[in-house]
C-alpha cells in the first residue's frame, strides 16, 4: 500500500475508527514536528503532500513524437473563411456545404486548418465526398491521427484525376491494404486510366470481400466498361448476393454484344410482337406475351422469381427482361419511331411494366434523345390525366428522365411552363424540384430575374412556390450572378391570405441571407488566391 493509499484509507474510514497511518512521505516531515489531533494531522499531511507533488512535478520522458505535417502545396483558405464555414455553412445553412466545397475545389483552395476538425467530423456522405478534395495535406495528416476520421485518408487519392496512375504500385498497395473509402476511390481512379489493371486487382480479392463491398466494386466497373469485362461479370451473375447479381446484369445489359444481352434480347423478342389492327386505318399494336412459368436460366440471369410489389409474376418477368434491352433496339427492329411504339403499347395488359422497363433501360442508352423525349412525354401525359399516387408516380418518372435530356431542352421546357398557366407552373415547379441536374448560369439568372418580377408584383399561392424555389436555387447560383441576386428585393402586396405574404417574405429574407454569406465566402476565396489574410 502506498503512502497515499494509507492516508486516503484512514480519511475514508474516519479517524474515529482507523488509526493514523505511519508514513515516510517526504512532505510528512513538515507536519511531523507539529503536535496535533489525528484529524488535523491527516488534513495537514494531505495539504502538504498536495503542494509537494505539484511543486515537485518533474515531467515525463517523451514518447515517439508525431512527425509534423508536410507543408501544404496548395492555396489555403483565409482565416476569415473559418467563421463563415463553421458558423454559417456547417451550422446554419447546411445546403451550402456541398456547393461551397465544390467551389473551393474548383478554385483549388484547401480548407483553413482551424475548420478541419469540424469538417473531418462530418457524417453525411455527400458532404464528405465534396470535402475530400479540399482537405489538403493537413487534413489528411489529421485523419491519420483519429480513427473516427479515416474517411479523410482517401484525400490525395482523388484530388487530381490527371495524375491518376503515376505510381501504380503504391496505388495497388492502397487498394489491397487501405480502408474501404480509399479502396473504392483508388479503384475508380485506376479504372478510368487502366480498366484492365483495375479489373485484375479486383479479381484477386473479390471472393474474400463482403457482399456490400463486392457490390460497390462491381459498380465501379461501369467506368470504362467494355467487352473485356464480360467474363468477370458473367461470374458475378452467379454471386451468392442478389445485389451483386443485379449490378452485374445491369452492366452486362450495357454491352449489346455480350452473351447476357443476346440472351435477354432473344427472350424479349419472343415476348414482344407488333401487329397491325384496324379495318380502314391500320394502326400498329404492340403485344407483350411473357411466359407462364419461369425458366431456371432466366433466374440465373437475375430475373426475380417472385412478383414485385404492384405487379403480377408475368409483368415482373417482362419488366426484368425488357429493361435489359436498350429501347432503340425496338425502333430498329420494328422500324417505327419511339412515339409510335409507345402509342402502340399503351393499351396492352402489360403496358405499365413495358413503359417502366423502357424508362429504366434508357438511363444506360442516353444517346437516344428521341426515346428520352417520347418517354418523358408519355409520363407527363399520365401525370396530367391520372389522379393521386398514379399521377405522382408518373410525374416522378418524367422528372427522372429530365436530366437525360440535353440541358437546353429541359430549361426551354421549364421556361415555357413557369410562365404558363397555373397547371403548367405546377408541373414546372415539380420538374424543378425533382430534376437533379446542374442548371446553366443563363437559366438561373433568368429564374432569379423572373422571381424578382413575380414576387415584387403579388403574393399568392404561386408566389410561395416561386419563393420556395428561389431559396433552393440560392446555393447553386454562379459566383458571377451573386451581385445581381444580392440587390434589394421587394415583396408584393398580399392577396386575401396573409400567410402567403408572410411566407414569401420569410423565404426572400432567407434568400438574401444566403446571398450575403455566399458573397462573403467568395470574397474570402478570392483573397485566398491573391494571398491576402492567409492561414499557415
Amino acid at each position: 500500500m502506498t503512502h497515499q493509499d494509507s492516508l486516503l484509507s484512514a480519511a475514508l474510514i474516519g479517524s474515529s475508527t482507523a488509526p493514523l497511518p505511519a508514513s515516510d512521505h517526504p512532505a510528512d516531515e513538515v507536519v511531523a514536528v507539529i503536535d496535533r489531533s489525528p484529524e488535523e494531522i491527516v488534513l495537514l499531511r494531505a495539504g502538504a503532500r498536495r503542494l509537494y507533488e505539484r511543486a515537485g512535478h518533474e515531467g515525463a520522458a517523451t514518447g515517439e513524437p508525431i512527425p509534423p505535417c508536410d507543408p501544404e502545396s496548395r492555396v489555403i483558405g483565409t482565416t476569415q473563411l473559418t467563421p463563415l464555414l463553421r458558423d454559417e455553412v456547417l451550422t446554419g445553412q447546411r445546403e451550402l456545404a456541398v456547393p461551397t466545397f465544390a467551389r473551393m475545389h474548383e478554385l483549388r483552395v484547401v480548407l483553413p486548418p482551424e475548420v478541419l476538425p469540424t469538417v473531418l467530423s462530418l457524417s453525411r456522405k455527400r458532404e464528405r465526398e465534396a470535402a475530400l478534395p479540399i482537405l489538403g495535406t493537413r487534413g489528411r495528416w489529421l485523419a491519420h491521427l483519429n480513427a473516427d476520421w479515416e474517411w479523410g485518408l482517401a484525400a490525395g487519392t482523388v484530388f487530381d484525376a490527371a495524375d491518376a496512375t503515376s505510381d501504380l504500385q503504391a496505388m495497388e498497395a492502397e487498394f489491397t491494404q487501405g480502408v474501404a473509402a480509399t479502396r473504392l476511390a483508388v479503384l475508380k481512379r485506376v479504372r478510368r486510366a487502366e480498366p484492365a489493371t483495375a479489373r485484375e486487382w479486383l479479381n484477386e480479392v473479390f471472393k474474400s470481400e463482403s457482399a456490400k463491398d463486392r457490390d460497390a466494386f462491381v459498380k465501379c466497373l461501369g467506368v470504362g466498361l467494355s467487352m473485356d469485362d464480360e467474363p468477370f461479370l458473367e461470374v458475378c451473375l452467379k454471386d451468392r448476393a442478389g445485389a451483386v447479381r443485379v449490378s452485374a446484369g445491369g452492366l452486362l445489359s450495357r454491352l449489346p454484344d455480350s452473351a447476357y444481352s443476346v440472351r435477354m434480347r432473344e427472350r424479349a423478342e419472343a415476348m414482344l410482337t407488333l401487329e397491325s389492327k384496324g379495318l380502314i386505318k391500320k394502326k400498329p399494336v404492340l403485344r407483350c406475351d411473357p411466359p407462364e412459368s419461369l425458366d431456371k436460366d432466366w433466374k440465373y440471369d437475375g430475373v426475380p422469381e417472385k412478383a414485385t410489389a404492384g405487379r403480377g409474376k408475368r409483368a415482373t418477368w417482362a419488366h426484368a427482361v425488357l429493361r435489359a434491352v436498350p429501347p432503340h433496339h425496338w425502333s430498329a427492329k420494328f422500324e417505327r419511331a419511339p412515339a409510335e411504339l409507345i402509342e402502340a403499347v399503351r393499351d396492352d395488359n402489360f403496358a405499365d411494366a413495358i413503359l417502366d422497363a423502357w424508362t429504366d433501360a434508357i438511363t444506360f442508352a442516353t444517346d437516344n434523345v428521341e426515346w428520352v423525349v417520347a418517354l418523358a412525354s408519355i409520363w407527363m401525359e399520365f401525370a396530367e390525366k391520372k389522379r393521386g399516387e398514379a399521377a405522382q408516380k408518373a410525374l416522378a418518372k418524367a422528372s427522372a428522365l429530365v436530366p437525360l435530356l440535353p440541358a437546353e431542352d429541359i430549361e426551354t421546357t421549364l421556361r415555357e411552363k413557369l410562365i404558363g398557366s397555373r397547371a403548367a407552373q405546377v408541373q414546372g415547379f415539380q420538374i424543378l424540384n425533382d430534376a437533379k441536374c446542374a442548371w446553366s448560369d443563363k437559366f438561373l439568372s433568368w429564374f432569379v430575374s423572373q422571381a424578382r418580377s413575380v414576387l415584387g408584383r403579388k403574393c399568392d399561392e404561386m408566389s410561395v412556390s416561386w419563393a420556395e424555389a428561389l431559396v433552393r436555387m440560392a446555393p447553386h447560383l454562379s459566383p458571377a450572378g451573386l451581385a445581381t441576386a444580392s440587390e434589394p428585393w421587394t415583396v408584393g402586396e398580399p392577396d386575401k391570405q396573409a400567410w402567403h405574404h408572410n411566407t414569401v417574405s420569410r423565404h426572400v429574407q432567407a434568400f438574401q441571407h444566403t446571398m450575403s454569406v455566399r458573397v462573403a465566402i467568395e470574397e474570402e476565396l478570392q483573397k485566398s488566391i491573391r494571398g491576402v489574410g492567409g492561414a499557415s
Binding site: Q4, L7, L8, A11, L12, I13, G14, S15, S16, T17, A18, P38, E39, E40, V42, L43, L44, R45, A46, G47, A48, R49, R50, L51, E53, R54, A55, G56, H57, E58, G59, A60, A61, T62, G63, P65, I66, P67, P68, C69, Q80, P83, L84, D87, E114, L116, P117, R138, W141, L142, L145, N146, A147, Q509, Q512, H513, S516, A520, E523, S536
Partner: protein
C-alpha cells in the same frame, strides 16, 4: 485593431448573447454603418432603430437599446458584422454626428477623470477604520475556527458516503464563511461540493482540497495576522480586498507592453469570474487580472486575449501573480514572439519557485517556447506538450483545433499549470496569436 469573430464571442456576457449577436451580424440588419481609425458605428433595425457605437482604442461601446446585458446583442452584432462582412462596414473618414458626438464626450470624460484622480482626497477617520478592521478580523477568526472544526469532523467521521450529500451540505458551510466575511474561502468550500462522485478518484481529490483548506486556515491563524511575508497572500485567500488606494501605496507597479495570452471564465450562483493571463515583453513578468461581474453586468475592463496594452500594471501586495491593469490609450494585436521558458525543465523550476513564494496559488501561467502538441492512443486518447526531452499532460480532451493549427510544428504555448496538467489557453505561431480551444 481588427477584432476576430472568436474575440467578439469572448466579449459576450453569455452564450445566448453570442447567438443573438451572430443573428444580427448580417448586412440586412444594418444601415448607416461605417468605421474609421477611432470607432465603428451603425444603426440596427430592431423594434426601433438603435444607434450602436464602438471605441476601437479601448473597446468602449454604447447602444441606446433597453437591454440589461452588456455588451448587448446590437453591439455584438455590429462587431460580428465588421469581423465577417467587412464590406458592409465601409471605411469612412468622418463619423456621423450621432456617433462622433458620443466619442468626443467619452474622450472629454476620460480627461476629466484623469484630472480628478490627481486632486487630493478627504482625510480618513483612522480610529473608525481600525475599529472596523478589528471587528472584521474577529468575525473572520471565528469563522475560521468553525471551519477548522468542520474539517476535522469530516475526517473524524470519514469521507466515505459524502457523495450522497446534496449541495446544501456544502453550501451551508459556504454561507457561514460568507457571513464571517471570508468570501474567497466560501467560494472554495462551495466548489468542494462538485467533487464527491465526480470520478473514480474523487476521494483523493477531495482529501487534497480539504488538506489545502486546512493549510490556509492554520497558516492564517498562526502567521497570517502578524504582518509577516505571507500575510497579504493569506488575506487574499480568505477574501480580504485591497482598496485602490492601498494597491497604489503598497502594490508593485510596472510599466511594460503586456500581452494578454489567455482567459478563463467561471460562474457561481452569486457572480461571474474572469481570469485573464498576461506576459510582459520587457520584464518577462507573468500574472493574471481577476474581474468579477454580478448578474448580466459586463466586466469593468474589456480584456480580449490576443491583444497588447502599453500601460502600467500593479501587482497586489503579497501576490506575485495577481495584478490590476491600468488604462491604456490603445490596444494592438499580438504580432511577435513573446517571452517564455525555453524548456519544460526550466518552466518546472520556475513553477517550484513560484509555489515556494506563494504556496496557496491555484495555478501558474505556463509560457512554453517551441513545444509541440502530441496525441496518442485511440480508445483513450492522451494529450501532451513535448519539448523534445520532457512532456507534460494537457487537461481535458479534444485539442484537435490546436493540433490542426500547429500541424505538429513547435509553437509557443500559453496555459495554466496546476501541478498536474496544463490547460492550454492560447498559442503564438508565426507571430500570430491563436486562442484555444
Amino acid at each position: 485593431m481588427e477584432l476576430t469573430s472568436a474575440q467578439v464571442e469572448e466579449m459576450a456576457p453569455d452564450a445566448s448573447s453570442v447567438k443573438a449577436g451572430q443573428k444580427l451580424g448580417k448586412p440586412g440588419a444594418w444601415q448607416d454603418t461605417g468605421r474609421n481609425d477611432q470607432m465603428i458605428w451603425g444603426q440596427c433595425a430592431g423594434s426601433k432603430l438603435y444607434d450602436v457605437k464602438f471605441d476601437r482604442s479601448n473597446f468602449g461601446y454604447h447602444c441606446n437599446c433597453p437591454s440589461r446585458k452588456f455588451p448587448c446583442k446590437h453591439v455584438l452584432g455590429l462587431l460580428f458584422l465588421t469581423a465577417n462582412h467587412a464590406v458592409a462596414v465601409p471605411d469612412t473618414e468622418v463619423a456621423p454626428g450621432w456617433a462622433g458626438d458620443w466619442l468626443k464626450k467619452r474622450q472629454d470624460r476620460a480627461e476629466k477623470n484623469a484630472a480628478a484622480a490627481d486632486k487630493p482626497k478627504k482625510p480618513v477617520d483612522k480610529a473608525a477604520q481600525a475599529k472596523r478592521a478589528a471587528a472584521r478580523d474577529k468575525k473572520v477568526n471565528d469563522g475560521l475556527t468553525r471551519l477548522d472544526l468542520w474539517l476535522q469532523d469530516l475526517i473524524r467521521g470519514g469521507l466515505a458516503g459524502l457523495e450522497t450529500k446534496d449541495y446544501g451540505f456544502w453550501n451551508e458551510q459556504a454561507k457561514r464563511l460568507n457571513d464571517a466575511q471570508a468570501p474567497s474561502l466560501a467560494n472554495r468550500v462551495e466548489q468542494l461540493g462538485e467533487i464527491p462522485g465526480s470520478g473514480r478518484d474523487w476521494p483523493s481529490r477531495l482529501l487534497m482540497e480539504l488538506g489545502r483548506l486546512k493549510l490556509i486556515v492554520d497558516a492564517y491563524q498562526r502567521v497570517g495576522q502578524s504582518g509577516g511575508p505571507y500575510t497579504d497572500a493569506l488575506r487574499q485567500q480568505i477574501g480580504f480586498t485591497v482598496s485602490t488606494d492601498e494597491l497604489g501605496e503598497r502594490g508593485e507597479t510596472l510599466t511594460d507592453r503586456w500581452s494578454l495570452v489567455g482567459q478563463t471564465s467561471s460562474e457561481t450562483s452569486r457572480m461571474r469570474t474572469q481570469v485573464t493571463w498576461f506576459v510582459g515583453h520587457g520584464t518577462g513578468r507573468t500574472g493574471y487580472v481577476l474581474q468579477f461581474a454580478v448578474g448580466n453586468r459586463s466586466f469593468e475592463q474589456l480584456l480580449v486575449p490576443g491583444t497588447e496594452y502599453n500601460s502600467p500594471l500593479t501587482f497586489y501586495p503579497g501576490d506575485p501573480q495577481r495584478a490590476k491593469l491600468g488604462e491604456s490609450e490603445k490596444t494592438e494585436p499580438i504580432s511577435e514572439r513573446l517571452p517564455g521558458h525555453e524548456s519544460i525543465d526550466a518552466f518546472l523550476d520556475a513553477a517550484a519557485t513560484a509555489w515556494a513564494t506563494n504556496p496557496w496559488a491555484d495555478q501558474i501561467l505556463a509560457s512554453l517556447q517551441d513545444v509541440s502538441i502530441q496525441v496518442s492512443g485511440n480508445e483513450k486518447r492522451s494529450w501532451t506538450v513535448n519539448d523534445g526531452s520532457l512532456q507534460l499532460p494537457l487537461t481535458r480532451a479534444g485539442h484537435w483545433n490546436a493540433l490542426a493549427v500547429s500541424g505538429g510544428r513547435p509553437v509557443d504555448l500559453f496555459g495554466t499549470w496546476d501541478g498536474l496538467a496544463i490547460e492550454p489557453l492560447g498559442m503564438v505561431l508565426d507571430g500570430q496569436y491563436r486562442r484555444l480551444p
